[in-house]
Amino acid sequence: MEFLRPASWEEALAAKAEHPAAVPIAGGTDVMVEINFDRRRPDHLLDLTRIAELYEWQTGDQTVRLGASVPYTRIIERLAAELPGLAIAAHTVGSPQIRNRGSVGGNLGAASPAGDAHPALLAAGAEVEVASVRGSRRIPVEEFYTGVKRNALADDELIRAIHIRKAAGPQQFSKVGTRNAMVIAVCAFAIALHPDTRTVRTGIGSAAPTPVRARAAEDFLNAALAEGGFWDGGRTITPSIARRFAELCAAACDPIDDVRGSAAYRRHAVSIMARRTLGWTWEAFRAGGDTTGDTTEGGARCA
């Protein structure tokens, strides 16, 4: 196994072009596990840790451009205001040691349906900036996931950054695991209110072959909120709307039975998380409060 250590982004792209099967590695929290267990033995590892720009982020008017290797810890500490849903999701990743090394770029590269960042990216709205020696392009995150552990990257492409819409309203993320910390998702759900466009977006993790949006649920909710004048009226969402939204979120799932949970439970849990997170975010929106709707003092964002 050859260990390639490009000093710059251009060198990295050149190396990837020369060795299309090379596996990029940054924090190593996923790749190294695969290698240690001999499940994967690439001829080339492409080490991205010398490329400083991948660890940086820029905050623009509309979006945050998040370098592919920015560790989850930085997102939690520095970007909770702009990317509240992603920050909550980041806090559910592994242990502090893992959060110090793992990154959203890694989550996207692995494209596991259980990746914690995916639902938050789907709900917020994001584009993945990828590049090769041929040039660069932006892929809407919905189109990035193409199958179980498969993504839209061409063989010679690398993930450079993720452009995520800054929160214009409350966002939430919720994940079920059978342990109270450091647990892989049985299933996960994210929601983002976008008062600027008067839309609600969602993201579901670990309940289908790929991370998905519950589009029918979004359409239903957007229509119901518009028809009922909820965005202007500051009214509480009615239980029947919340229930229908939750049902449609569950219906968006295509889960499997495995050792982590049954398909039936995953559907059920997604419906509960959908109903609860809708309540939290909507009540936060009504209150005009912070962008997480997290009324819990020091809640998910501490520790």
């Binding site: 267990f37 559910t92 994940k175 079920v176 342990r179 910390a181 892989i184 949970g261 039936a264 439970y265």
Partner: protein, 788 residues
């Protein structure tokens, strides 16, 4: 033997003037090293020129091996040898109780992960790749996976031609051992019962999940023998199984304990020991083997999963009339310690209660599931989950408070066990329950911090759906090896004066696996010899056996051996003193002298001799064995017999918050009360109780090895075999009672296992209280709480 055999309690004054004696909280000498990552474990061993061993394991749970081709593996550069069954030099099988386990598969594999071949190479990666190139042709065989498939007509017999001592009375060759216990008249009692509760229970397969994987280093010696540095629970039983396999006399197989990263029963059976020694002797080079986490899940036995059927009958006023139960344990492919687990499950099956009429049956199966054997609680855990659920169910039927109902039926000293054995030391069952119940309740839920809510950091609830529940349980565990086993330990103690300072060297083969022998043994020697400086010799097979670090027995047994030997050393000091200086002072004629600070002191406190003068340059060096009182086997039909050495009791109160919509559980508090007879190291006692309690919590809500889809292990990793994190571990307040058992050294009672029993049913009782669900299976999964 008999009661007179037990050493008389020591005069309390011996050791009174010395610091660091028994009863003082003493920090572990290895505590900081372990917390800072500097402690050397067996996986850290290193030797110049060493090779690395690797094991090829079966992908099938039951298959005939048609052929093995090692040619390609052997031809790889860096590979020194490849061994299969055909290369074994001597005995081909080993086992703790029954020698039924092949060192390497003998023409047939019986479980997923069974060792088929071993490789030694100059790099671990090379060894692993070579193992992958060994070509094994398997022909799959029909599976035995449960009682029905094990005993069906025409079922494949997993071990044909059994000659072990349980074979004759086992009702089927696929039943390892069966133990009935009958007392009184259950049919007559049933006719008198006002309330009858009959239910089925199930316990999943728990793993010990120690953090230091199986590892060790075998070094071939010039005399043709081998030195093995190893993390184990019992050096001598390893040696006694290894020597025949290696074709060596026992004295040429020398074992030294290496750093042990937890055990909990999983190191009672051999894992890589024989493989490393075989490869070392074959290559003439030191060989190291370290399992990774994945292999570790296949490298040791697990806790027996169990199916239990219980029927309890009681009178309207809350008296238990009878218990009928049947416990089916799945022992997996090899016997391991299944027979003893059956004995425990049967004899402890009704719990710490007085019941005159019992009809009990416990058995262990042979199957193609992973082999199961020792784990903390050893057969008593499975039973406790069921009988405590039954106690709650009967109390509910009677409209009685569950603690009150338990107290009405709680055993006391003098009670008679189902085996007919009279409990002849304190059994404060009702008092332990009273204490956990009397504790103030933790503050109500509704916390604003998600870490204190079910789901924790996963942010699933801000209070929605959360219901609090409270549950109680109490359990009974035996201490020491039972059923007539000749259980002993050995201690060598050397007392001398070095540089004017009296120094005691204590040498035992006790395996320190985290239980705290390293503090307690020093404390005992300080107490008995009145010296400040005590050095513990590394544990090895150059001294007599210490027995196993299991069955909550080491403080009792090796602690007892050190006490016993120190007493002999002390008497020898006095004998030499009397011989040389007896005429100088009338105090030498006193029957009871004391040793304190290197001086011989009379009972009145007068110093009459100096150790330096008595010993001069000589040392007193004595090795002695210590035995607990003898026990008897259980009768094969009636189960009657004085089977156990000692009983220990622990009670728990669990307070849980359940997210009833998502089926997630947060244990808020798990209060324990336990009688330990005498707390030699109170700090360590509390640690043991908290650790056992947490392991029981793990079984209650998350820990299970999932075996399915062709008897394959589905979750051999810490990603999917979950153990509690600190956010899953509640506050565990502990109350310690010290009611002496007069048969035991210092009156002590083994501590380590009892808290593992009652923790699980207490948590599940609390979840039942919160949800109203029956919950007959552990671990309780979100699916069970949400009917999905």
């Amino acid at each position: 033997m008999g009661p007179g055999r037990t050493p008389t309690p020591t005069k309390p004054r011996q050791g009174a003037a010395t610091r660091g004696t028994i009863g003082e909280s003493t920090p572990r000498p290895d505590g900081i090293l372990k917390a800072t990552g500097e402690f050397a474990y067996s996986s850290d061993l290193w030797h110049e020129d060493m090779l690395w061993g690797c094991t090829l394991r079966s992908p099938y749970a039951h298959a005939e091996i048609r052929s093995i081709d090692v040619g390609e593996a052997l031809a790889m550069p860096g590979v020194h040898t490849v061994m299969t069954y055909a290369d074994l030099p001597a005995e081909t099988h080993y086992g703790l109780e029954v020698r039924d386990q092949p060192v390497l598969a003998a023409g047939r594999v019986r479980y997923h992960g069974e060792a088929v071949a071993i490789v030694a190479a100059d790099h671990p990666e090379t060894a692993r790749r070579a193992a992958a190139r060994i070509k094994v042709e398997y022909a799959e065989l029909p599976l035995v996976t449960d009682e029905a498939t094990a005993t069906a007509p025409g079922a494949p017999v997993l071990h044909p031609g059994r000659t072990d001592r349980h074979a004759a009375h086992a009702p089927h060759p696929n039943i390892v051992h069966r133990q009935p216990i009958k007392r009184g008249d259950v049919a007559a009692a049933r006719a008198r019962a006002d309330v009858v509760v009959r239910r089925d229970y199930e316990v999943g397969m728990q793993d010990q999940a120690f953090l230091g994987p199986e590892s060790g280093l075998a070094v071939p010696a010039e005399d043709g023998g081998v030195d093995l540095y190893i993390a184990t629970q019992w050096l001598h039983v390893d040696r006694d199984q290894l020597a025949p396999v290696l074709g060596l006399p026992a004295d040429k197989v020398r074992l030294t304990l290496s750093g042990v990263g937890g055990a909990f029963g999983a190191r009672e059976d051999l894992s890589m020991q024989a493989h490393a020694c075989l490869l070392a002797l074959r290559t003439g080079r030191p060989v190291k083997i370290v399992y990774n986490r994945y292999e570790s899940f296949f490298g040791h036995v697990h806790r027996h999963p169990a199916k239990l059927a219980y029927e309890h009958g009681a009178t309207r006023d809350g008296r238990l009339l009878y218990v009928q139960c049947r416990i089916v344990l799945d022992g997996g492919a090899y016997a391991s310690s299944s027979p003893a687990v059956v004995g425990n499950a049967a004899s402890l099956s009704i719990g710490p209660y007085t019941v005159d009429n019992v009809d009990i049956e416990a058995l262990a199966l042979y199957s193609n599931n992973p082999p199961c054997g020792a784990m903390r609680g050893f057969g008593a855990v499975q039973a406790c989950f069921a009988y405590e659920a039954q106690m709650d169910a009967v109390a509910a039927e009677l409209g009685l408070d569950p603690v009150e109902f338990r107290q009405r039926n709680a055993m006391e000293q003098g009670a008679v066990m189902p085996t007919g054995q009279r409990v002849d030391s304190p059994a404060p069952v009702a008092e332990l329950l009273r204490r956990v119940k009397a504790r103030p309740m933790p503050r109500p839920g509704g916390s604003a911090d998600v870490r204190e809510l079910p789901g924790g950091l996963s942010n699933t609830s801000h209070g929605e759906g959360v219901v609090r529940g409270v549950g109680y349980a109490v359990g009974i565990k035996n201490v020491g090896f039972s059923e007539g086993f000749d259980d002993y330990s050995t201690a060598r103690v050397r007392l001398e004066v070095l540089g004017g300072e009296p120094v005691a060297l204590v040498h035992t083969a006790m395996a320190e696996v985290g239980q705290g022998g390293v503090t307690v043994h020093t404390q005992i020697a300080r107490t008995e010899l009145g010296v400040a400086q005590v050095v513990l010799h590394p544990a090895d097979t150059q001294v007599g056996s210490a027995g196993s670090t299991s069955a909550s027995r080491q403080t009792y047994m090796t602690g007892g051996a050190i006490k016993h030997t120190c007493e002999a050393v002390r008497e020898e000091v006095f004998r030499r003193g009397r011989e040389r200086f007896g005429a100088d002072h009338p105090g030498w004629a006193d029957a009871e002298l004391l040793l304190a600070g290197g001086k011989v002191v009379t009972e009145a406190g007068e110093v009459i001799g100096d150790l330096a003068e008595i010993l001069g340059g000589d040392a007193i060096d004595i090795e002695k064995e210590f035995r607990h009182r003898p026990t008897q086997p259980f009768h094969p039909e009636t189960g009657q017999g004085f089977g156990h050495v000692q009983y220990s009791f622990c009670a728990h109160r669990a307070v849980v918050d359940v997210d009833t919509e998502l089926g997630l559980v947060k244990v808020v508090e798990l209060a324990a009360a336990q009688d330990v007879g005498k707390a030699l190291n109170p700090l360590s006692v509390v640690g043991q109780i908290q650790g056992g309690t947490t392991q029981g919590l793990g079984l209650a809500v998350m820990e299970e090895i999932v075996v399915s889809d062709g008897a394959r292990v589905r979750n051999p990793s810490f990603t999917d075999y979950l153990i509690p994190t600190i956010l899953d571990t509640p506050s565990i307040p502990v109350e310690v009672l010290e009611l002496a058992d007069d048969h035991a050294p210092y009156g002590l009672r083994g501590v380590g296992e009892a808290p593992t029993l009652s923790s699980t049913p207490a948590v599940v009782a609390a979840i039942r209280a919160a949800t109203g669900l029956r919950l007959g299976r552990v671990p309780v999964r979100p699916e069970h709480l949400t009917d999905t």
